[in-house]
Each structure stands twice: as structure tokens, then as C-alpha cells.
Symmetry: C2
Subunit: 319 residues, 2 copies
């Protein structure tokens, strides 16, 4: 079997480029039977980095992209003024089929926006979104989406997030008929804001996924739902609050296997769902381990043909 | 100094009436120098309860209200079909000045709705809201509002929540110029959904409170803001997620003084802000300790003339 080729943005992350060399080294040590890395960024920076991290140049590919989008840059402005930035170059390689997936811990807005523009959406009327994992106490992680790609969502968007989530959970988590819940402030269908109430009506009785109703904030860690659908505003607040709790627990020296599942290092980042390609965005503060897991997660998405599965699911729904 | 008279709804709570007798007993044991209780509910139930809990009938007052609004009742329907329910009777006593404050762990929607109707809002154009405390690591609790009184909020509502929160924090927490933040998904003014972006513009530079900008989910436990403004949907999800985390920590046997501040038993419930009267709603699962703290919190609100202070602050803003 040929290896999965993942493009890694060397310029991405608060601690770039070093975090990416550390990550690349871990990928080579742990996943080289399965993954081939293409390092994307300034060639000189890459060669110097490989040498100082003791990585054999022949073990990876290098693709030159001299410009850098900084973490604080305004996404669209930066993408336009720096056409040879590592994100755009990486997405170009993905579109051209030179790599199978692209992974970056860089500027989230820039990666998300450029992905949608460069690769296109799987169907015409869809708003792509981003996902995260929510550790459940007695079960594997739940999937939550959207986590901030859009701040405002219409009921139809939430319905599509449910379809994206269903397909993700089926093919990546290998659960045949996962339970989809709507994050809300009460159990009853008539609870919530106008958008969520309308989304409930759309989702209830759907044959596209297995809708189990509303899920409240204190139920996210339970087995109630495998997929947690919400608008990007709510999802982002929940995601960051979980980070806050994880930090608190570390602060107090509380630690166990379950809590470690909240650690971003182990989560692999957030896949962009609804576009024609495998793109994973890592946490800005990624260290080497987080970068390795981001690359690994990208490869899982490629291996399970997720973008193609999603296109298939949503295209059949359109007809 | 005369005692503060608090009306306690005997029929309120999942474990009513017993939780309320337990709570009343704790109030008598710990706070009787300051608080006089009026127990509101079915007279026979109250007399039987007092006797079986060994409470002297002469230590409290009793006000007969034979009907009960159940936790699962549809609020408005129940309020109309049961005019002699303990909530409406209690609010009637409050309006008539027979009690100084009203506390109930009953049906939240019914208490909130009946409070607004019976007591009226402090100014004409205001949406009352509910609050909770968010424990901060290195400081006293932050105040978060709204936590679910309204699921949809306009920018003007969020602005008013900030004024309510500022007044609360100034007079209840005794902080002269507390910092007000807006819960959002990024630090920059242009981040967030349309409502939050518009609210930021309204709040920025306000002389009604000390606006310090956006606060993200992972910053709620930090010192960044004393007052956390959000719509009721977001606030409710955050509140319940905090409950979920507290439960997780208990599940794992993690415990310390800080974590105990997340325990609803110690928080005293949620005050209804923006109405002409001191009303506190307790958690449905309240036990005796939680009921005592709910009564204590009600008395603090009365003692610090909070509804009147809020009316003053908002009325001067109207002119």
C-alpha cells in the first residue's frame, strides 16, 4: 500500500517553525510506515530546521513557500497580499493532487477561508464547518460541530452540520447509526432560541441521521448523543470553556486518563468539513506532539475518504 | 434593627416540601437574628412539616396557598389555572409589602414569568434577566447574566444586562468600578455573531459601566472581567457545562475549596434582575443547605436595596 501524503505547514503555529520540526520528527519516528510528509514553507528555514533537529532530508519532501501568514494577520488581507504563503501553496498542492491532505496549526481564519475558496464546497449550498471532540465519561469522544467557522447559523445550516457530523462519525468513528443531538437550553422541542427551535423541527424525524433531540450543557459528557450540533458561537464558547476546565484541573494537579482526553495535544485539531479535501487546523499553541497528532488525524480523514463520503451523502440529499 | 422578612415557597423544588423544611430549620439555626421566614404553601402541609422537623410554629409565619405549580407544568397555563398557587401568592405578598423578598426552588419559568407580571419591570423598556456566579481562581466570583430568561437577545438587551450586572456587582459584591466583559469567540471587536458585534459597539466607551471588551470561554475563570454579559442561550449552556464539570470532578473524587464554589448548594440561586422586588429562584434539585443559602441570598438583595438601586441606575440612564 502506498503511503498517505500529508502536507505540513512549517510556518503554522505560535511556536513555528520549531513545533513543526518536532512534530515531523515524531511522525517519522512513529508513523513513517503509513505517512509521507511534505514540508511546506521557506526552503532555507526547512533545511536549517531539519538539520538542527537531526532529520534526514531524504525522509521527507520539501516544497518552497517563502511567505508567512502570521497568527495575528487579518485572514483575507494576508492571503491576498502574500500569494506565496505556506497555506495557499499547501492548498494548491492538495487541489492539484500532489498531497492527500493538508495540516496547519496556523491562522485559523486564513486556513479555513483559503480552504473553502481553493477546494470548493462539496455541494453548492452548504456552509462548511469545523469540529472538535468532546470526551465522554463512559464512551468514546462525542463530535461537536460547528466550533466557530460561522458565528451565525440558520436552521438549514444546523441541519447540514448534523449531516456532516453523521458522516464523520460513521466513517471516522465507525459507528453505524450514531445519535445526533442539538445543543439547547432545555429538553423540550419548544425550548431555545428561534434558530434552534426551527432547527429542531427540521431535524426531528429526519432520515438523514438519527436525531435524538436536545442536549443540555450538563449532558455533553454523557452518552446521550454522539454528535453535538450547535452554531459556531456556542461551540466555540463550549470548546474554550473545556480548555479552561482542563487547565484548572492541571493547575490543581488533578490528572487521569479521562481528563487527558481534554488535552488539545491528544485531539489532533479540527477538520474542515464540507469542502473537497482533507484539511486539518491545529491549535495555535501546538507543540510537537500536537503536530504529530494533527498529521495523524489528517491521514485518518484521507484513509477513510471522508470528504468524498460527505460529498456523496450531501449530493444524494440534494436530489 | 428589624428583621428582613423572606417568603419561602414550601411547594418549590424537586424534593418539596421536605427540602424547604430542612432549609427553614437551617435558617432558624443560623440566620434567625437577621431573617424572619414566612412559609408559603398549604397550611396543613406546613404545620405537619414543622412538627415532623421539630420546628416551633411560633418561630415562623405561615401563609396559606393551597395550590401547587409542579416542576413540569407549562408556566403560563399553570399560573392561570391555579390562581392560589404558592408562587403567585408569595409574589402578591411581596407586591403588598408583607414580605421583603421571595425565594422559591420551584418551576423557573413560572416564577420568572409571574415575577415580571406581578411586580413589573424597573423601567418600561427592559428585559429582566437571571444571573449566576462563576467562580474565579484568584478572585471572588464573577457574575454572569443572562442565564436563560430570554433565549434571544438584541444588542440593547445585552447593554441593559451590563447595567444590571454593574449595579449588582457594585452593591452586592461591593466593588466600586467592576470590569464588564462580553462573552465572545475572539478578542477583537469584529469577532462574533451580528448581535454580539453590535453589542460591542454599544458597550464600548459606555459611561454606564466599565467595559473591558470581549471575554472568551477559556477566560471566564480568570480576572479579566467581574461581570460576564451574554445572551440567555449562551449563559445557560455555560452554567450547565460548569455543573457538568463539577459533577465530573466529584465523580473522580477531586475536591477543594475552589471547586466547591461551583456547587449549586453554596451559590444561593439566581436573582431575577430588572423587576420591582427581590426574587430569587433556587435550583430544582435544592436540598436544605441550598434552600438556606437561597433565603440568605434573598436577604442580601433586600438589605442592599438592589431592585431599588437598579431602578435608580436605569431610570437615570433613560433621561
Amino acid at each position: 500500500m502506498s503511503k498517505i501524503v500529508i502536507g505540513l505547514d512549517i510556518a503554522g503555529g505560535d511556536f513555528a517553525p520549531n513545533c513543526n520540526f518536532e512534530g515531523a520528527k515524531l511522525v517519522l519516528e512513529n508513523l513513517s510506515d503509513k505517512i509521507h510528509l511534505v514540508l511546506i514553507g521557506d526552503e532555507n528555514v526547512i533545511k536549517t530546521g531539519l538539520s538542527s533537529y537531526g532529520i534526514d532530508e531524504n525522509a521527507v519532501s520539501i516544497f518552497h513557500a517563502p511567505e508567512v501568514i502570521e497568527m495575528g494577520d487579518t485572514p483575507m488581507r494576508a492571503l491576498m497580499s502574500k500569494p506565496n504563503n505556506s497555506i495557499s501553496v499547501g492548498l494548491g498542492l492538495l487541489k492539484a493532487g500532489k498531497i492527500d491532505g493538508f495540516a496547519s496549526a496556523g491562522n485559523t481564519g486564513a486556513i479555513f477561508g483559503a480552504s473553502v475558496v481553493a477546494l470548493g464546497t462539496v455541494i453548492e449550498n452548504i456552509r462548511p464547518c469545523m469540529m472538535t471532540f468532546v470526551p465522554r465519561l463512559n464512551n468514546r469522544d462525542a463530535l461537536m460541530l460547528d466550533i466557530g467557522a460561522s458565528a451565525d447559523s440558520k436552521p438549514e445550516n444546523l441541519y447540514q452540520f448534523a449531516m456532516l457530523g453523521h458522516t464523520f462519525y460513521k466513517y471516522i468513528m465507525n459507528v453505524e447509526n450514531p445519535k445526533t443531538g442539538l445543543i439547547n437550553i432545555g429538553e423540550e422541542p419548544e425550548k431555545g432560541n428561534e434558530v434552534v427551535k426551527a432547527a429542531y423541527k427540521l431535524m426531528n424525524g429526519s432520515t438523514d441521521f438519527n436525531f435524538i433531540g436536545n442536549v443540555e450543557g450538563n449532558e455533553l459528557f454523557s452518552d446521550k448523543a454522539d454528535i453535538l450540533v450547535c452554531n459556531g458561537f456556542t461551540g466555540n464558547v463550549v470548546l474554550k470553556l473545556c480548555e479552561g476546565f482542563y487547565k484548572l484541573s492541571r493547575h490543581f494537579g488533578f490528572s487521569n486518563e479521562y481528563l487527558e482526553r481534554f488535552n488539545y495535544e491528544n485531539q489532533g485539531g479540527s477538520a474542515v468539513l464540507g469542502i473537497n479535501g482533507a484539511v486539518v487546523i491545529g491549535h495555535g499553541i501546538s507543540n510537537g506532539k500536537a503536530i504529530m497528532n494533527m498529521v495523524k488525524f489528517s491521514a485518518e480523514i484521507v484513509e477513510n475518504k471522508l470528504p468524498w463520503r460527505i460529498k456523496e451523502a450531501l449530493s444524494s440529499n440534494e436530489q
